[in-house]
Amino acid sequence: MDEDNSSPFRRMSSRTRKVAPRMVAALANSDNRAQAALARLEALENDNAGMETIEINEDDDTSLDDEDQVYMHKRQSKGTKRKTRQAKALENARKAPRTFAELLHEASLETLPSHVPSYLRAAVGPPSSTSRRHFCTVCGYAASYTCVKCGMRFCSCRCQNIHNDTRCLKFVA
């Protein structure tokens, strides 16, 4: 249903949309969006959601090409303290609990023969029908429209404005 509504609408609109070159690049590789979606699912398993999501955002910011140089500069200026910090980080890493994903990676379950039941093979796998209901990220009702910048859903002009003001992840997503 939703898919049917949204695609003809997009084709009909004759308005020319100015898109910045960087946006084009961001749109071109859909990996970014997939990564943002994955990060969001990961965030659902966090214990202290508030703090950890902020960290994720910071990581994303530093990977932007504009800020890369600033970031490099910062890193060099910290060079004097580097040794002690690294040592500390290593120490912390040894002490700190590892995530389940790391343990899973270490166990390398992919190498097991295909008839052995394992954590990876117990996952249900993709649904039989690919239809996905879309809910407005602002108000929660059925959403017909997709944000061209970040791919999130909204249902009306009002929600679109709220989305653009607050949530649109232009470059991150």
């Binding site: 966090n46 214990d47 508030g50 394992s118 249900v124 993709p126 996905r132 879309h134 602002v138």
Partner: protein
């Protein structure tokens, strides 16, 4: 020898612990350490049922550390702290003179199994250990209750364990989980709470740090919708016609330290929405009259003055909805009904009719109202016509697994099934584990 058996259902959300042979666990406590705003140290949470909360911690904006991630033990040091507190101050037992029945999630990685064994034998010196998985324990408990009725069917069942960290559909045959047929959805109570947090924080009040508060909101207000499209329509209606709107009052830290549902009657109004359109109209009318009487203009003014509450409408059923359609969240996983069908289909065809007839729901997330009804509604079209679908709900899904463990621990063969400390010392972790058929 050791005759005390400690039964420990080590869940990601709650630890259920007690002595074997008893009906209910003596302690149920959150499996985490807390740091409330008022404290600089990590504190042990108080048990949820045993003590009648002599000094309830103020859990507002408390930070949480959990030893389990996605259901699996990742931080043995933290788990040791929590268990030490549990054994010494809550259960009052000495591990070296007792054996332990411990639940472990299915498909625990070898490294995690080793860490668990080290914890049990080397840190706590238990004299013997038996590791069970929760589906088989839930099955044992259910069969013990209905053994009179039908003995043939009681030998196998399909356990749907929808807990804190994930959801499993596991066929159990003669008290053993058929691990080649188990299917898992990576969604549980924790993800649902976090999803609700995200929705509320974006739409009304920022509650991203309030894990315990939002757990309470989820438990009290969320329900499973039987017809999502219709309920979305209802949730959209303005004012009194909206049977789903419900107000939750946040704690103010002065008069009440716990949040509560403003009007419990209002929270129950969704029950009047039944399948038939006619009856729902009738119900709506009755309810509207009822509300007009109770709602006074003064109440509304008070809402505007103090902004310490928030309304929930469609969030109430869209949150549990994710268990049935994880794809809506962007997860590439099938919903619960399909998960059950796939689990059954991986078993021998002779078992199919019996498995569909004995579906057992266990785990805290099955406590959402109407969970079983919705599941049956989704499952029925997927199951062949000549098979019956029968879904059994446990009277207390949180404790069901523990009760099964308690029964197993009091059975006469239990001691023979255990791995003793001397065996562990001689053979090591991996060899001992073979006894549990992992």
């Amino acid at each position: 020898m050791s005759n005390v058996v400690v039964v420990l259902d080590n869940g990601g959300g709650l630890i259920k612990a007690g002595l074997g042979g008893e009906r209910d666990p003596s302690t149920v406590l959150p499996n985490c350490l807390l740091r409330p705003l008022s404290s600089k140290k990590w504190l042990h949470p108080s048990p949820t049922i045993a003590a009648s909360s002599e000094d309830p911690l103020d859990l507002t904006s408390a930070a949480v550390r959990r030893p389990l991630d996605r259901g699996y033990l990742i931080n043995p040091d933290l788990q040791r702290d929590i268990w030490a507190h549990l054994f010494n101050s809550l259960l009052h037992i000495s591990p070296s003179q007792s054996s332990l029945l411990l639940t472990e999630p299915l498909f625990a990685l070898p490294s995690i199994q080793r860490a668990t064994d080290e914890l049990v034998f080397e840190d706590f010196n238990f004299s013997a250990l038996y590791v069970a998985d929760s589906p088989s324990l839930a099955h044992i408990y259910e069969t013990s209750r209905r053994h009179v009725v039908s003995r043939g069917a009681a030998q196998c069942s399909l356990v749907v364990d929808c807990g804190f960290s994930f959801t499993h559909a596991a066929p159990v045959f003669q008290n053993f989980t058929l691990n080649y047929a188990v299917k898992r959805i990576d969604l549980g109570g924790k993800a649902l709470t976090n999803y609700l947090k995200e929705l509320v924080s974006y739409r009304s009040v920022n509650v991203m740090d309030e894990t315990f508060l939002m757990d309470d909101v989820k438990e009290k207000l969320c329900f499973v919708s039987l017809d999502v499209a219709r309920d979305l329509g209802v949730a959209r209606k303005p004012g009194k016609k909206n049977l789903l709107r419900c107000t939750y009052v946040l704690p103010d830290g002065v008069t009440h330290t716990k949040g509560f549902v403003k009007d419990p009657d209002q929270a129950q109004r969704y029950l009047s929405l039944t399948d038939g359109a006619l009856t729902s109209n009738l119900g709506a009318k009755v309810d509207m009259d009822h509300i007009e009487v109770t709602e006074k203009p003064e109440d509304r003014k008070r809402i505007d003055l103090t902004k310490n509450e928030f309304d929930l409408t469609n969030e109430r059923f869209l949150v549990p909805e994710m268990l049935f359609h994880p794809a809506d969240l962007g997860m590439n996983q099938a919903g619960l009904a399909e998960c059950i069908v796939r689990a059954v289909n991986s078993c021998h065809p002779h078992l199919h009719p019996i498995l569909y007839e004995s579906i057992i729901l266990t785990g805290g997330s099955t406590l959402f109202p109407r969970f079983a009804e919705r599941l049956e509604k989704e499952l029925r079209p997927l199951v062949p016509d000549d098979y019956q679908v029968k879904i059994t709900t446990q009277e207390n899904p949180i404790l069901g697994v523990w009760r099964g463990g308690s029964l197993l621990a009091s059975s006469p063969d239990f001691e023979a099934m255990c791995v003793t400390k001397s065996e562990y010392e001689e053979l090591g972790s991996a060899r001992c584990r073979r006894r549990f058929f992992h």
